[in-house]
Amino acid sequence: MIVASFQDYVPLADITKIIAVCLTVAVVAPTAAALVITGFEAQASASESVRSRVLANTRIALGVAIVVAMITIGLYALSNK
């Protein structure tokens, strides 16, 4: 009864989606940032070996790509609401 009344005022399905998006971003955004940060650190402390440098650069590129993708999705949501 209470749930039915609440649903009259608030679209629970949409709120569930909003919460899902927020939780996804809450996991993905720090992960992307951590990739870039650990990549920079690895780059700075990397030995001369090509492999370690490539690994560090890959981390940075992946992190930046995720951040750029998130911003693009955000801009899409903004212009297509």
């Binding site: 971003v25 809450a26 996991v27 720090p30 951590a34």
Partner: protein, 387 residues
Amino acid sequence: MNTSLTLIVIVVGTALFFDYTNGFHDTANAMATTIATRALKPRLAVTLAAILNFAGAFISVSVAATIASGIVEQNLVTVPIVFAGLVGAITWNLTTWFFSIPSSSSHALIGGVLGAMIAAVGTDAVIWSGILAKVIIPALLAPFICGGAAYLATRISYGLTRRVPEEYEARGFRLGQIGSSSLVALAHGTNDAQKTMGVITLTLIAGGRLGADEAIPFWVKLSCAAAIGLGTFSGGWRVIRTLGTRVTVIQPPQGYSSESSSSATILASSYFGFSLSTTQVVSGGIMGAGLGRAGGTVHWKVVRNMAVAWILTLPAAGLMGALAHEGVAAFSSDTVGVIVVGIVAAIVACVLFSLARRTDPVNAANVIETTPPTAPPSAPASAGVAA
């Protein structure tokens, strides 16, 4: 019936001034944590926010068609009611700014129009279920949705970078903050400038100067974008100080987590057509980020003051809107009434600006000086509401 041009010009000017106050009141939403963590210098941060607010105003006009849609009976809204609602909203915005309290400009506008509407037409003109669905429930949900996400993001941020030297951690998260706060600024420009576009469009339609089916004139879009951009550029330093340094001590990972969660919440809710207050979302995010760091604290007295302001916004702006309407109605001519009430409101605004300058001037130079970001204040509660 065509409303006099003088009346329309005054109402449009008042709407643009509301847009300006909206801009400077809400600069903190995007840039408070960015400034607090020194990701950007204060003046640079508000300049970036101003540019993005200006640009954001042109991205979409999908919700600009109406004011307080679904909250009051639209066909009963008149130009003097719009004016009185704007006066109520501006007065409340300036009052909360003076006391350094982040409060919702959107709720102030809705409250002002509600109060003016009730004074003019009565309670029958109010759609109470709309207020519950569009104002009260979102206001209750927003801080918790964003706060929960920010808490989780902060835990993950610190967890994933715990072995990284602080120098790299801080630099990386500061860079991320610039991106996430820019998105919040852009979204703010899109959402909030549209509200003023809606007000001006409604005024032009109600005044017989624009057809109901006509598109929003370009000068309306441009002037609203410019007003919110200028407001943002002038920097609501008092509110920035509260959100950036007084709710909690913000470090770069927390700032990044808070802003990422805020932008996700604002953009997702906008996309699904669910209107949330940017201020309440961002405040919730900052609280969540404050609690997410091990040893992090939230200054609950400051939060309590903010919550009281949120609760008071609707009735207080409504009361001011109702008083403004009664003031206008006291004169036989709407134009004369609007001019007189406008002068009184301008005097009140000048007094508040003047008092703020004299009693506790906050600017780009001292916005984060009062509370160093590396150490929590010993008596934070006393700094809750600066006057």
